[in-house]
């Protein structure tokens, strides 16, 4: 990579990452559905492997990307990651709390614990992809704001 020629954040790179993150959310949701339902053992293993490998692969990719970046990109990446991880940590609690409150006040007044636990698995399964989606978007917006007054 020629750092000097890299004039600004790449919208194409962001679009590719967002497409990957959205596909990852869908695949993680499907994998959690497979694990929660009676399917074959092979499907269970594949779903579990996907949930295991995808975040590890992303972590390795980011570690390599950081090594190849200069300090401005590293700084924006780290700050984006903080925001992404913060929301990802909040996400299951927001969804579960919101589900319970909406059941109690807007629904039949009962909490479906079994359904809640199944949803919790899905929420947790898609957490890494949500963190990636938000952190990449945040990093891009930071880099874009740095590049606004480019000569």
């Amino acid at each position: 990579m020629n750092n000097a020629l890299r004039a600004g954040p790449s919208a194409v790179a962001l679009a590719i990452k967002l497409v990957i993150a959205i596909a990852w959310i869908g695949a993680s949701g499907y994998a959690s559905w497979v694990l929660l339902n009676e399917t074959s053992k092979v499907y269970d293993i594949l779903a579990a492997l996907f949930l295991f490998i995808a975040p590890v692969a992303w972590t390795v990719y980011k570690a390599i990307e950081v090594k190849l970046s200069d300090e401005l990109y590293r700084n924006a990446g780290a700050r984006g990651l903080i925001h992404g991880l913060r929301f990802a940590a909040l996400w299951p609690c927001l969804m579960l709390g919101g589900s319970v409150l909406s059941s109690l006040f807007l629904g039949d007044g009962e909490v479906n614990v079994s359904g809640l636990m199944q949803n919790a698995v899905t929420y947790i399964a898609i957490m890494p992809a949500i963190a990636v989606l938000l952190s990449e978007t945040m990093s891009f917006s930071l880099l874009w704001s740095y590049a606004r007054r480019q000569e």
């Binding site: 890299r6 401005l72 740095y146 590049a147």
Partner: protein, 64 residues
């Protein structure tokens, strides 16, 4: 933080891209430092000072 990187670069007739090559950073980084949007690390600030042959505090704090 205000700095004199842009003035020092202009005095030497370098473009942002040329300075970026000398500093081994992206042009985006040079622009962000010049406009004061990004405060460089100590390492980069020292590299800039060494390249221009000026004390780091003169470049990033001004002479006043």
């Amino acid at each position: 933080m205000k700095n004199t990187v842009r003035e020092l670069r202009s005095q030497r007739g370098w473009t942002q891209a040329e300075l970026a090559v000398r500093l081994k950073v992206t042009r985006n980084s040079v622009n962000a430092v010049e406009t004061g949007r990004y405060e460089p690390s100590l390492t980069l600030a020292l590299r800039i000072a060494r390249l221009f042959g000026e004390p780091v505090e003169d470049i990033f704090l001004g002479r006043d």
